[in-house]
Amino acid sequence: MEVSLAHYLAVSGLLFAIGMAGVLLRRNILVIFMCLELMLNAANLSLVAFTRFHLVDGLPNFNAQVLVFFIITVAAAEVAVGLAIIVALFRKMQTTHVEDLNSLKF
């Protein structure tokens, strides 16, 4: 069977959906954070698939492939800052559960 653009897009959509469901349903901040990374990787997969299957004069649009590298880099920066904040949170409150974040209410 030939693997077509639709297959890649389906996998990527699935990854995105799993990531978003995880963000909405899970209660552990670390797991939520992993799910957020999953959403970014879903976008990377479909970007690469779109460039691979939309060749112009036999060449892909390299802009989108460069964007993939930027997304990977930004995701790494986001993880560095995000984990630092989660560590600070754990040191202060001894928890990584979203239910315990309830001091700000009106």
Partner: protein, 481 residues
Amino acid sequence: MNPLVLEVLVVSLGIALLMVEAFSPKPDKRLLAWIGMAGLATVFVLTFFVGTVPPGSPTAAFYTADSFAIFFKRFALVSTILVLAMSIDYLPVVARFVPSEREGGGLGEFLALPVLTCAGLMWMASAADFISIFVSLELVTISFYVLVAYMRRSNAGLEAGTKYLILGALSTGFVVYGITWIFGMTGQTNLRAISEVVTGGYPAANIPALLFGVGLVIIALGFKVAAFPFQFWVPDVYQGAPTPITAFLSVGSKAAGFVVLLRVLEPFSAVPAIWEKLSAVLAVVAGATLIYGNLAAIPQQNLKRLLSYSSVGHAGYLLMAVASIGAVLPGREAWPAIGFYLAAYLLMTFLAFFVLAVAGGDEISHFNGLARRAPWLAAALLVSMISLAGIPFTAGFLGKLLLFDVALSAGNYVLVGIGVLTVACGFYFYLRVVGAMYWQPVPDGAAPIRVSVTAKVAMALLAVLIFVLGVFPQPVLSLLD
């Protein structure tokens, strides 16, 4: 001079501040704020001498320096200068909540990061390609994660930081996936190239998928500008973040979000088949944002939370104008009204947050009898509140008038009706703060309020500008045409 020089200078300034922090033995960090403010003021002056990007140069593909972009670069510079000025007085509060072994430790980054954020905001104003939009958006967002969570011995600060982190990262996921689909359906990442593709006989079969991508990008920007239903992070984050950063979030981040929103929507507003759907969605979001922001502000007892709901409400007025772009107001005709409103919003919001930062408490009851304890401070908050409410002869009134005019000429009568009703609502909750200051008794044992010279100068300048722009808006409008 190539306008890109401005951002390069601001980034260098931010790095220089970090170097000074690392190698200077002085424990007094106020010096950093002064260097930062002087540097940013220099860049502000330089914005009047930059040329345009030569078309066809490699820079022009991802960077534009039209008058709108230059206006918002100045906007970002002014807000950052004000944030640094506010931080000078706020540093002792931050120091209490930052663990450090020596005096003044861990405070330098609080003054260097806003400068780097400013560079991101300036890039966002100029971004003409989805790659540069994404990277500059993330530069701003990631710096804000650190700044919001900066006070890491405060439960509220950490909680606000974590909430902002999760929801900011979620909106990053949406924007990236949206860009992916826009790229997939047009084959381009450049906004001008996308515009050429969608206006030149775009196949109708691809429109739903393209709308899916644009919709995701609008959701992500809805998070940034605090539009309903993506506003739920706003009250908590605004309340928990350090006050200067709250002001920065509320002004800088929102303005940059609107600039990017306008730029992203520009190619699609020229295609009726796409735009009729998008503008309907935007109109619904605008109406819901107006109603939610203004109604939810009514029961608030905390001024910071009240300002956060008011910030949601003001996003609604701006979205009302964004939704009115279309056949009657094609291209960029509505942009000056939006730019002017954001400028007015900068003045009045920063004035309110300056008073909040020096008053030393955010409950509204804390401001009881402020008119007798500190008459000038009360007068400053009064000016800010009447401008936010939209009383004539203030910049806030004129800004609202321009936005309503835009919506009226586009025939959005329902939105205008909602807008007028919510303005009436706004009168109630803004003037409640004024009532507390002028008609409530002074609480027993209230400590005297000390206001530094920097804050006094900044507040006086902002208050005067609110009235000047309220009767004489031409200087700002001429920068925007």
